[in-house]
Symmetry: C2
Subunit: 347 residues, 2 copies
C-alpha cells in the first residue's frame, strides 16, 4: 500500500476515470470512448456516462493521457529575454495561434545568457514538449548536444538561425538596413554612426552588414562610420551617446540596431543640447509601440511582430503534424516608418 488515494493532493487528482466508470456502471473503456468518440457508444450509455462525469466533476488527467499518447501538447518558446518589448508582442502572436490547436506555451527565458540553454535542452530531451519555437537566433545547446539533434520539431522566428533546417519566419534585416542607409543618403548625410546589438547575434550581423553595404553603395567607406558596441537594450544608447558627445566632428546620422537604444540615444544627446533631427538624425529597428510616443517620433524599421509570432507558430504546428512546410523560409515585409527623428543633414 502506498497511501490513500483520496488524501494529500489537491482535488484535480481525486476523481479518476475509474470513479466515473463505477458510478455509471460501465467499464473505463466505455467512459473513455464516450468522451473521445461519442458516436460509438449507445445513446443510453452515453447519457449515463455523461451524467456521471457531470456529477463527479471529472477531468482527464493529462499526465496519464500524455504518457499514453506520447505527446504533451506543450510548446517550448525560447526567448532571449522575456522583458523585451519586442519579444512580448511576438509571444502574443505565437500564443494566439497555439491556442487554436490546443497547445500551451512554456517560456524558456535565456536572459541573454548562453548557459541557460542547457536547461531547455534537458526539458526537450525528457520529452516534455512537442515542439520548439526559437526566437533567439541560435540553436540551444549544452556543450555536447544541440537541440537540433534531438529530433523535436522546431521553427524559428525573428531571426534566421544558422545551421537550422527548419521553417523560418523573419524579416529581411539586411535589406531593411540597406534601406536605412539609403534613407540617410537621400537626406545628404555623409558621416554615420551605428549602435550595435550583441556581438555575434545573427540579427545584429545582418543589420550591420546591410547598413555598411547600403553606405558602400552610396560611396561611403569605413572611416565615415562610427561603430558603438552594445546590446538590444536602453543602456546601449546611453553609452553610445556619451561617446558621441565627445566627438569633434560627430556623425549626423545614427542607426541603432534596436528602438530602445535609439530612444535612449536621442534622450541623452537632446539633454546635452543637441537637436534631433536638425543636428543628428536617428533611426531605430523593431517598431515597438512606444517609438511613436517619444519626441521626436522615432523613424524605425517596423517588424510585424505579432504576425511573425503567428506565422511562425503556424509553421511549427505543421511541422509537428508531419506536414511538409511548403515555404520553409518566409520573409515578411519590414517597412521603414518615417518619423520625425530623421531629416536632412545639417548644412
Amino acid at each position: 500500500m502506498e497511501g490513500n488515494r483520496r488524501s494529500a493532493r489537491h482535488s484535480p487528482g481525486n476523481v479518476t476515470i475509474q470513479d466515473v466508470a463505477a458510478r455509471a456502471g460501465v467499464s473505463t473503456a466505455t467512459v473513455s470512448r464516450t468522451l473521445a468518440n461519442p458516436e460509438v457508444v449507445s445513446a443510453t450509455t452515453r447519457e449515463r456516462v455523461l451524467r456521471a462525469v457531470e456529477a463527479t466533476g471529472y477531468t482527464p488527467n493529462v499526465a496519464a493521457r500524455n504518457l499514453r499518447a506520447r505527446r504533451s501538447m506543450m510548446i517550448l518558446v525560447i526567448v532571449p529575454n522575456v522583458a523585451s518589448p519586442f519579444i512580448a508582442e511576438v509571444l502574443r502572436g505565437i500564443d494566439d495561434e497555439l491556442v487554436l490547436s490546443g497547445y500551451d506555451m512554456i517560456i524558456g527565458n535565456l536572459d541573454n545568457l548562453v548557459e541557460r540553454e542547457a536547461r531547455y535542452v534537458k526539458l526537450v530531451q525528457s520529452g516534455q514538449v512537442d515542439g520548439v519555437m526559437i526566437t533567439s537566433g541560435r540553436i540551444p545547446g549544452d556543450g555536447d548536444r544541440s537541440m537540433a539533434d534531438l529530433g523535436v520539431p522546431m521553427a524559428a522566428v525573428c531571426a534566421a538561425v544558422p545551421g537550422l533546417t527548419a521553417p523560418h519566419v523573419t524579416v529581411d534585416d539586411r535589406q531593411a538596413s540597406i534601406d536605412v542607409a539609403t534613407h540617410f543618403l537621400e537626406f545628404g548625410h555623409r558621416r554615420f554612426g551605428y549602435i550595435s546589438g550583441p556581438a555575434g547575434n545573427v540579427n545584429e550581423i545582418d543589420r550591420y552588414d546591410g547598413f555598411k553595404e547600403g553606405l558602400r553603395q552610396g560611396g561611403v567607406g569605413a572611416k565615415d562610420l562610427t561603430y558603438w558596441p552594445g546590446h538590444f537594450n536602453l543602456r546601449a544608447g546611453v553609452d553610445a551617446a556619451e561617446d558621441f558627445l565627445t566627438l569633434e566632428a560627430p556623425p549626423t546620422a545614427i542607426y541603432a540596431a534596436c528602438d530602445e537604444a535609439a530612444i535612449s540615444f536621442m534622450k541623452t544627446v537632446i539633454s546635452a543640447g543637441r537637436r534631433v533631427p536638425e543636428d543628428v538624425s536617428v533611426v531605430g529597428f523593431d517598431g515597438i509601440d512606444v517609438a511613436r510616443f517619444v519626441r521626436p517620433t522615432l523613424t524605425t524599421v517596423h517588424q510585424p511582430r505579432y504576425e511573425l509570432g503567428r506565422t511562425g507558430a503556424q509553421a511549427l504546428l505543421k511541422a509537428i503534424a508531419g506536414l511538409e512546410v511548403e515555404e520553409p523560409v518566409v520573409r515578411l515585409a519590414a517597412p521603414l516608418i518615417q518619423g520625425a527623428s530623421s531629416g536632412p543633414a545639417p548644412v
Copy 2:
C-alpha cells in the same frame, strides 16, 4: 500490438529505463535507484548502470515520472497581457526564482479577456500544474467553477486579489496614489485629471481611490477632478489628451494609472503646443524602463517589478511545499520617483 516503439516519435521517447536495465543487466528498479539514491546501490552496480545510461543517452520520461509522483513541476502564471512592459519584468523575477527549484513556467495570457480564463481553469483542473501565480488581480473562473475551488496552491502578485486566501505580494497602490496627490498639492495644483485603468481592476480601484483620498485631504473635491476612462495602454493617454485639449480650464496636474498612458498623454499634448511641466504636470505609475528616456523624464510611482515576481514566486513555492507562509501579505515599497514631468502649478 500497437505499432513499433522505435518508429514514429522523435528520439527522446526512444530510450527507456528498460533499455538501460537490459544493457546493464539489472532490473529497472536498480536503475531508478542508481539515479535517485546512488548510495543504496553497490559501487560496482552503480558503475555499470551509469555506463549504460551514458552509452544509451537515457533521460527519464517526465510524463511517466509525473504520473507516478502526481506532480508536474510546472507553474501556471496568469498574466493580463504578455505584451505589457510592466508584466515582462515581473515574469523575469518569477522565472529566476522558479528555476532554482526546478520548476518551469507556463504562461496563461488573458489578453485582457475574461473569457480566456476558462482555458486555464481547465488546465489546472486536469492536474497539469503544481501551482498558480496570479498577476491579473482576479481569480480566474469559467462561469461555475473558480480556480480557487480547485485546491491548487496559489499566490498573487502585483494586485491584491479579492476573495483569495493565498499569499499576496503587492505594493500599496492606494498609499502611493495618496502620495501622488500630495506631490501635486505641494506644487500648488488645484485642478486635476486622472487617466484610469480598466474599470473594475483592483489596482485601478485602489489607485483612483487613493488619489481621490489624497486630494480630499488637501481640500479638493470631485468637481476639480476630471476622470478619463481607459486601460493600461498607450491608447488611454491619447484619448485623454484629446479630450484634455478641448477643455476651457484644463487640469494642471494629471495622474495616469500606468506609465504608457502618461507617456502618450505627454506626447500628444506637447505636440499640440502645451508644455510639460510648465502648463501641465504628469505623473505615471509602474516605473517602466523607458519612462526614464522620454522627454521630459516621467515622474512615476516605481514598482519593484522584478522583486514582486521573485518574492511572489518564493511564497508560491512555500505554499506548494505545504509550509506555512509566515507573511501572507507582503507589501513592497513603491516610491514616487521625481522626474521632470511634474512641477509647480502655472501661475
